[in-house]
Symmetry: D2
Subunit: 366 residues, 4 copies
Amino acid sequence: MRNLFFMLFALLDAFGLVAQNLNRVTESDVLNQRERHEIRMPHIEGIEIMRCDFHIHTVFSDGYVWPTTRVEEAWYDGLDAIAITDHVEFRPHKNYLPDSLNDVFAIAKPVADYYGILLIKGAEITRSMPPGHINAIFLKDIDALGMDDYMEAIEEAHNQGAYIFWNHPGWKVQQSVTKWWDVHDILVKNGWMQGVEVYNTNEWYPVALEWCLEKNLTYMANSDIHGTISYVFDTKKDPLRPMTLVFVKERGEQALKDALMKGNAVAFFAGKLAGPEVLLRQIFEASVVVGKRFNVIENGDVSIKISNLTDIPFVLEDEEGKNLILAPGTTVIIKVEDYHNKKSLKFKVTNLYYGMNKNLDVEMTF
Amino acid sequence: MRNLFFMLFALLDAFGLVAQNLNRVTESDVLNQRERHEIRMPHIEGIEIMRCDFHIHTVFSDGYVWPTTRVEEAWYDGLDAIAITDHVEFRPHKNYLPDSLNDVFAIAKPVADYYGILLIKGAEITRSMPPGHINAIFLKDIDALGMDDYMEAIEEAHNQGAYIFWNHPGWKVQQSVTKWWDVHDILVKNGWMQGVEVYNTNEWYPVALEWCLEKNLTYMANSDIHGTISYVFDTKKDPLRPMTLVFVKERGEQALKDALMKGNAVAFFAGKLAGPEVLLRQIFEASVVVGKRFNVIENGDVSIKISNLTDIPFVLEDEEGKNLILAPGTTVIIKVEDYHNKKSLKFKVTNLYYGMNKNLDVEMTF
Amino acid sequence: MRNLFFMLFALLDAFGLVAQNLNRVTESDVLNQRERHEIRMPHIEGIEIMRCDFHIHTVFSDGYVWPTTRVEEAWYDGLDAIAITDHVEFRPHKNYLPDSLNDVFAIAKPVADYYGILLIKGAEITRSMPPGHINAIFLKDIDALGMDDYMEAIEEAHNQGAYIFWNHPGWKVQQSVTKWWDVHDILVKNGWMQGVEVYNTNEWYPVALEWCLEKNLTYMANSDIHGTISYVFDTKKDPLRPMTLVFVKERGEQALKDALMKGNAVAFFAGKLAGPEVLLRQIFEASVVVGKRFNVIENGDVSIKISNLTDIPFVLEDEEGKNLILAPGTTVIIKVEDYHNKKSLKFKVTNLYYGMNKNLDVEMTF
Amino acid sequence: MRNLFFMLFALLDAFGLVAQNLNRVTESDVLNQRERHEIRMPHIEGIEIMRCDFHIHTVFSDGYVWPTTRVEEAWYDGLDAIAITDHVEFRPHKNYLPDSLNDVFAIAKPVADYYGILLIKGAEITRSMPPGHINAIFLKDIDALGMDDYMEAIEEAHNQGAYIFWNHPGWKVQQSVTKWWDVHDILVKNGWMQGVEVYNTNEWYPVALEWCLEKNLTYMANSDIHGTISYVFDTKKDPLRPMTLVFVKERGEQALKDALMKGNAVAFFAGKLAGPEVLLRQIFEASVVVGKRFNVIENGDVSIKISNLTDIPFVLEDEEGKNLILAPGTTVIIKVEDYHNKKSLKFKVTNLYYGMNKNLDVEMTF
């Protein structure tokens, strides 16, 4: 008898019926999932593409979230590395928060280690134009950048071994026309500035692409996030938050820094890529594949599958100016007439830029 | 001539072509929209339903966002009033942030005024079980609650005129079974506790519904949010974040407090409502309408439209146990056989609770 | 003993565990919901707005779904009335399907009655330009329109009491420029054509708005759907499928026809409205409300809530050219400086058109 | 002068402004995208996994769409092969459509060739229980199956070289308990039945998994779609429409048939897999990868990344009964305590079944 009773209640309990009816019901399905959504990148032989955001703020300057939250956001959003870059000089919450910006890194580091996110120590040197706002990352001591003379601050960052870049050069608050100043020539000449944001938040600056070409600067796109990332970018849909794609042989802080110094990076923003032509071509060729099987329709016409294996969209324009959109992870079909006498298809990739009006040209041979 | 040139460039400029090609392109569509999504409530004659969350944390205790962000989240999520209730005693960031919790309210208030969100001053008195965690809202001076004896702290809150409630009574960290303790009887007897969370984060406690009935406590559901709201609740889909729906004659802080003291509130969580039977009936009858036009099918059968005008889902079970789901803002069709001899339809509303296993029964007459 | 066993299995059965483990598991949540998503329209005193699509095809001409499916699509998509308008002359499936197009109406009618969708009998008279494709709805006998001379066919439709309109006047297959022909003047003069599609599928024709003004034609937008509606329009997101909003005193077939004949209709497409200025103003004023409570910020500035109660988006442009988007069912906040000396706000509603470049101007007084 | 005017209008035209203002505006973004969403499958050396649906209806029996639409749906939904299987005997539209079901295949084949979808000729032999509904695919002449005696019909299908399976064995309309009948033994003994649907539409039959084990039948899941696929399954979200995953060396009709005959298939439905244990293990091991880098936290604890490369979800239960969900294309982090003394992790995969209550057990070694 007792066994049967036991068996009865054990069964009910096993099916959670006891708990359900009396004490506690956990609605696991009402919470957002806590996993990381991987951003599919092309597989390029011998290359790792690191997905990075190098311009991020927290409550310690004029942001609104705690440093550890920036690491969690990066994890959910599929990033590999971030730099938190609070303003050295602009600290609206300073009545509540301490002076040292080195604390920011110390607070976020253990969480970054847990998630395997590479956390870079950085800061934003904040001045009117020129030179505007300058980010320095891979710093040793942020508090040492507090001097009045911005040249001294930038030199100090350089002496700490920083990679240095110009933020939102065309920010309308600072200049209505996206203009390059003499001081930027000096910074480049001194080796005190190696990159520039061609995209920031939701704005981009086509002229800045020309600067990258002429002055050999690294193309960058960053979020410059101050509030909650998902209230600015919908991190579950396209376009993704802005990011800088850095090409390294092997993942690691030194490799990341070397690649940025060498210009081995592509800005990924608003469904567009901007970077060196050679890198754009590597990305395109490893992302887009023409289907093996051609389906013969009639009299030498065939339909051909073109697939995009990545989360980078590609917008192709054919020689008649017709558009072909390769959305992330999708396949489209095109009809090729007189297949036997046609050996290739030529396209301009209108969302891939290496210069102001310079798009990547591609050819698909078969 | 000059006029024509002028006209030409004026035109180009008007269409944004100058800007586009040279300086700056603003991708307005990449940002999430910044508007408030209204949560549709039923229109009940002479009643305003306030959508509230009375359990929220910030960086000042163990949360991860700045106080003003909580107001913005409330705005986007369609709430009318919130209480920020940081822990008086548990302050993991205290090396970085000041002692006074009154600052939290001072920081958030101007932003709340801008958005028209009613901000209530509150705090969480944090103890092991019993009595567990106790929220006090409508406080004057949070810092005055810092005494060691929790009874003294609760009395102080009461003396400040606070509305006081028991948080997550069945939180498994504190007790495996959702148990009521003698001390809670004392709190109720003293008039030092008027409500209880029947739902917190993603957990609810059916037994607590019985306490509300027996001890005349106010039914509440709150988010107890610590991180970014949208990383816990997907604020653009159902179910919405947990909230307490408070019934007032006219919106305002005093009216809100009086209604809570009187128990004129319904917990809204995980697609369910829990509250006094009379309020559940008011909500149902003002939310669900039977379509005017009946469509005759044949031999006395008709099809009838039933519409849900609100963002509250209703799950109906008919007398044969068949389910009928009325999703937010939708209409369903049902077939009524032998319409002339049938004068009404009876349903149990299985997602509306006034007690542990007590669902609202409704009848639709026509 | 036997009782206990019985009790045990009765219990298991009650909780569906027997069924679950042995026979059958129904995954109710894997299916799309079958309910109707209501499209929120403004409440205008004494007016009912009928949501209609008057240009739809089935397998009986060159479409791909069965007539009853068109009724179900209309139900899910929140429409009130549809006309199925298969081509009289173009019947690619005629080897498989019968000659009479009157069958189409007969097949769909019982399902329309069940759902309470008003089904209008119609057809498309299909000719090259001029006059292009002409829809006739409220027909009695479609098969009687089969004559070679299109004028005779249109006259026959007129004699059957049809409301007649010109489809996709700027369809590039028929004419590269959206041109009005003499024959259309004759049709209008004879009273054989009362409306025109200013929008079809995903194309619109701003010049046609001027024709509506000059020639007193009814503004229309229709889907011209051939395949599955949800493979062309994502019926769960904005913009909704194209539709014609018809203003009637009371719902019904005769009232609908009269309203169309009188021009009491507005085309709703791609997040835009096109129709008579007076109707656009009625819609705007009943859709957009300025919040009662103004929130004083400081020195005479206030923040004001503006809400859109409907599923029609409104894009406002203020006097400085700044945009304000009122998305469906949302509220935005604007700051009004020097409130005491400002008595109203003026906007141009850039997505509401009564003519080619003629947008509705509105003023919000307070 | 004339040049300037020309230049002016050429420019305007180049930017599409002429067209925009006068004739035609194409709203390309209002239409759903027409591309195929690839379903990510694991890469198993020497194996191709074909995504198939072998139970589909059209207007020619009791379905509601034209045969070609079934091919387009398969294309969008990421399938590789389908069989259209209209009822031989049940033809509610027969007043409108011809007798021959061979037409169905003839109509759909050219569209299948264009899209590269493998189209299999099939039919449903429709009887009460026993034997219930029987699908025969890889047929030559469907019309030859019209005899009264179902045994004769099944034998004819067999003689045409068909692969034959039992549909929805537990369909409640036919039997309340999912029961196996003597006639099914005869069919198996004769080699006239090689598979069974363990899942159909939104129902599955755990007992049928045992039949697959005992009687060596092929596990299958099919949609049995009659209406529009996207009104039954939301083809843009999980779970995907039901499908049968067939393991072949090389894609092709004969290879597909052989694999089905041999039982090299797995049913994929409602976020679950059901199939032979060996195939489930191949899928799991090729889908789930443990991250290379382990992040040391402290005293021998590490955090480990586990990624799911596919669109198949995996629900793991560890030895303490805790769940770990690996959603499609996502990565989760787990903490491994005392890493140095732990060499592996053991899980039960609770959504992968090879029998009624038999889940795949897996071990992750490192």
